[in-house]
C-alpha cells in the first residue's frame, strides 16, 4: 500500500460490519493497515468477519451492539477508545430500508428508519469525535449515504429523508470539527449487488432496469466501494471535508435511459 493511502497504526470503527457493503469495507480498512472495530448486532457474524480479517494478517475487534441503543453505543465507543487508545476513523455504514407507500405508512416505521440511519450516525460521530479531539491527531468521519441522499424515490420517503439528513449532518460536522482536523464526508453508493438487497435483485427485470439507467450499464460490486473508503480515510484526503462522493456508475450525474427493444 502506497504510504499516502496507508492506514497503518490507525483505529477504524465501522457499523453494519457483519454483512452487506459493510463487510467488504471493514476488510478493506484492515487490509490498508487499520485496526478495525466491527460493530453490528449479530455477534456470530462479527466473529466470522474478524476471523477472516485476522486470517488475512489484519487486526480486528468486535463490538456487538444494537445501534438503536444509545447507551450501548456511548459505552461501547468509550470502552474502545480506552482499550485501543485512539479512534481515527469512524465509518457509519449501518442502515435499514423499508418500502411503504406514503399514504399507507406509519410513523413508527419512519422513526425506526430515522433512528437507525441518522440518530445512530449522530451518536457515533459525537462519541468518536470526542476521542479524536482528545487525541489531537484529527480524524475522519465517513458516513454512508445513497443516491437517495440527493434524489427522491417513490415509497422510500423515510429512507430518502434519512439519507438526505445524513448529508446535512455531515456538512454540519464538517463545519464544526474542521478546526480539529476532523473531516466529515459522505460516500453515496448507487446500486450494489449484495446479500442485503436480494429482494430487489430477485424482482423480474429489476437488475436490468437499474443497469439501463446507469451509464456503466451494470450494478456495482461491493469491492468497488473500498477504494473510495480508503481514500477518504487516508492522508490523501486531508483537505477534503463536507463532500458527497457518488460511487454509482454515473446514475446521479446523468440522465440515461434505454429505448425499448
Amino acid at each position: 500500500m502506497l504510504e499516502l493511502f496507508s492506514l497503518k497504526d490507525k483505529v477504524a470503527v465501522i457499523t453494519g460490519a457483519s454483512r452487506g457493503l459493510g463487510r467488504p469495507m471493514a476488510k478493506g480498512l484492515a487490509a490498508a493497515g487499520a485496526h478495525v472495530v466491527l460493530i453490528a448486532r449479530d455477534e456470530a457474524r462479527l466473529n466470522e468477519v474478524r476471523d477472516e480479517i485476522v486470517a488475512a494478517g489484519g487486526e480486528a475487534t468486535i463490538l456487538p451492539i444494537d445501534l438503536t441503543d444509545e447507551e450501548a453505543i456511548r459505552t461501547g465507543i468509550r470502552r474502545i477508545g480506552h482499550e485501543l487508545g485512539r479512534v481515527d476513523i469512524c465509518v457509519n455504514n449501518a442502515g435499514i430500508i423499508n418500502w411503504q407507500p406514503v399514504l399507507d405508512s406509519d410513523v413508527e416505521d419512519f422513526e425506526r428508519v430515522m433512528d437507525t440511519n441518522v440518530k445512530a450516525t449522530f451518536i457515533m460521530s459525537q462519541e468518536c469525535a470526542a476521542i479524536m479531539r482528545a487525541g489531537g491527531r484529527g480524524g475522519r468521519i465517513i458516513n454512508i449515504g445513497s443516491i437517495l441522499s440527493t434524489l427522491g424515490r417513490a415509497k422510500l420517503h423515510a429512507y430518502c429523508a434519512s439519507k438526505s439528513a445524513i448529508v446535512g449532518l455531515t456538512r454540519s460536522l464538517a463545519a464544526e470539527l474542521g478546526r480539529e482536523n476532523i473531516t466529515a464526508n459522505v460516500i453515496a453508493p448507487g446500486y450494489f449487488v449484495s446479500d442485503i438487497n436480494a429482494s430487489l435483485t430477485s424482482r423480474p427485470g429489476y437488475m436490468e432496469a437499474v443497469s439501463g439507467v446507469t451509464p456503466m450499464e451494470r450494478w456495482g460490486e461491493p469491492e468497488e466501494l473500498v477504494g473510495t473508503l480508503i481514500y477518504l480515510a487516508s492522508a490523501a484526503s486531508s483537505f477534503v471535508t463536507g463532500q458527497v462522493i457518488h460511487v454509482d456508475g454515473g446514475i446521479e450525474a446523468t440522465f440515461t435511459f434505454q429505448l425499448a427493444a
Binding site: 427522491g152 424482482r203 429489476y206 432496469a209 450525474a253 446523468t254 440515461t256 435511459f257 429505448l259 425499448a260
Partner: protein, 260 residues
C-alpha cells in the same frame, strides 16, 4: 392579476420567441402586462408568431437578429433600450442543440453551440444590464435545461453550454445583485415542442423519457410560460442566482420504467 405579478409598464426581450417554449414565454410575459420584443433569426416565422399574439391583444414587437453574431446582439439590445428608454426584462431562451457521439464530434459543432448558447446570452445580458443598472432594477432570466444540472450522452457541447450558462447566471447574480438586477436560470426538462420532433419520432423515445418522470409525461409548452412570468415579476424579488428546474421531477428523483 395581483399587483405582485404585474409587469405593466415594463419592457421585455424574449429570444427564440418564434416557436416552442420561447413563444409561450413571450406570451406569458406579455399577458402579465409587459411590452415584449420577440426575437429570432428568421423574420417570417417571427412576424407570424408576433401577429398571433397581437391578435390576442398583446403588446408585442419584433427584432430579427442572429444570436451567433455578436455585433447584431449588441445592436439589437441597444436599439430596443434606446427606443424605449428602458429595458426591464431579458429572457435568454434561444439556443441550439447538436447530437454527435464524442468520437465523431466536430470542433466546429462545439464552437457554434457554445457561441450561440453561451456567448450570445452573455452579450445580451451585458448589453441589457447597461439599461437596467442605472435604473436599479432588472430581471435577467437565462433558459438552461435539465442538462444544466445533469449529463447526457452524445450531446457534450450542449450539456457544456448549459452548465456554462448556469455558471454565468450565478456570476452575474453575484455582480449585478448589489445593483438591483437579479439573474436566474429557468431550466426546462422535456417538453412537447416542434424542436423535439426528431427525437419524438424515434421509436420508444417519448415513453423512454416519460418512464423516468414522476409526472409520467412530457411538459406542455404552456407550462413553461407561467414559471418565467413569475421569475421576471416583483414576486421573485429576492430570488437571485437560482437554477429553477421545470422538468416534472426528472432530475430530482430516481424513477425506473419498471416501477408501478
Amino acid at each position: 392579476m395581483t399587483e405582485r405579478f404585474s409587469l405593466k409598464g415594463q419592457v421585455a426581450v424574449v429570444t427564440g420567441a418564434s416557436r416552442g417554449l420561447g413563444f409561450e414565454m413571450a406570451r406569458a410575459v406579455a399577458e402579465s402586462g409587459a411590452r415584449v420584443y420577440m426575437t429570432a433569426r428568421g423574420r417570417d416565422q417571427l412576424e407570424q408568431s408576433a401577429a398571433t399574439l397581437r391578435e390576442a391583444g398583446l403588446d408585442v414587437r419584433t427584432s430579427a437578429f442572429d444570436l451567433s453574431d455578436g455585433d447584431e446582439c449588441v445592436r439589437a439590445i441597444r436599439e430596443i433600450g434606446e427606443a424605449e428608454g428602458r429595458l426591464d426584462i431579458l429572457v435568454n431562451n434561444a439556443g441550439i442543440n447538436a447530437w454527435e457521439p464524442l468520437a465523431e464530434a466536430k470542433t466546429s459543432t462545439w464552437d457554434s453551440v457554445i457561441r450561440t448558447n453561451v456567448r450570445g446570452p452573455y452579450l445580451l445580458c451585458r448589453e441589457a444590464a447597461r439599461f437596467m443598472v442605472p435604473k436599479g432594477y432588472g430581471r435577467l432570466v437565462n433558459v438552461g435545461s435539465a442538462l444544466a444540472v445533469t449529463g447526457r450522452e452524445k450531446i457534450a457541447a450542449y450539456v457544456s453550454s448549459k452548465h456554462g450558462l448556469a455558471g454565468m447566471t450565478r456570476a452575474l447574480a453575484a455582480e449585478l445583485g448589489p445593483k438591483g438586477v437579479t439573474c436566474n436560470m429557468m431550466a426546462p426538462g422535456y417538453f412537447l415542442t416542434e424542436i423535439n420532433t426528431s427525437i419524438l419520432a424515434r421509436p420508444g423515445y417519448e415513453r423512454g423519457v416519460s418512464g423516468r418522470i414522476p409526472l409520467g409525461r412530457w411538459g406542455d409548452p404552456e407550462e413553461a410560460g407561467g414559471v418565467v412570468a413569475f421569475m421576471v415579476s416583483k414576486a421573485a424579488s429576492y430570488m437571485n442566482g437560482h437554477i429553477l428546474v421545470v422538468d416534472g421531477g426528472l432530475t430530482e428523483t430516481f424513477v425506473l420504467p419498471v416501477d408501478s
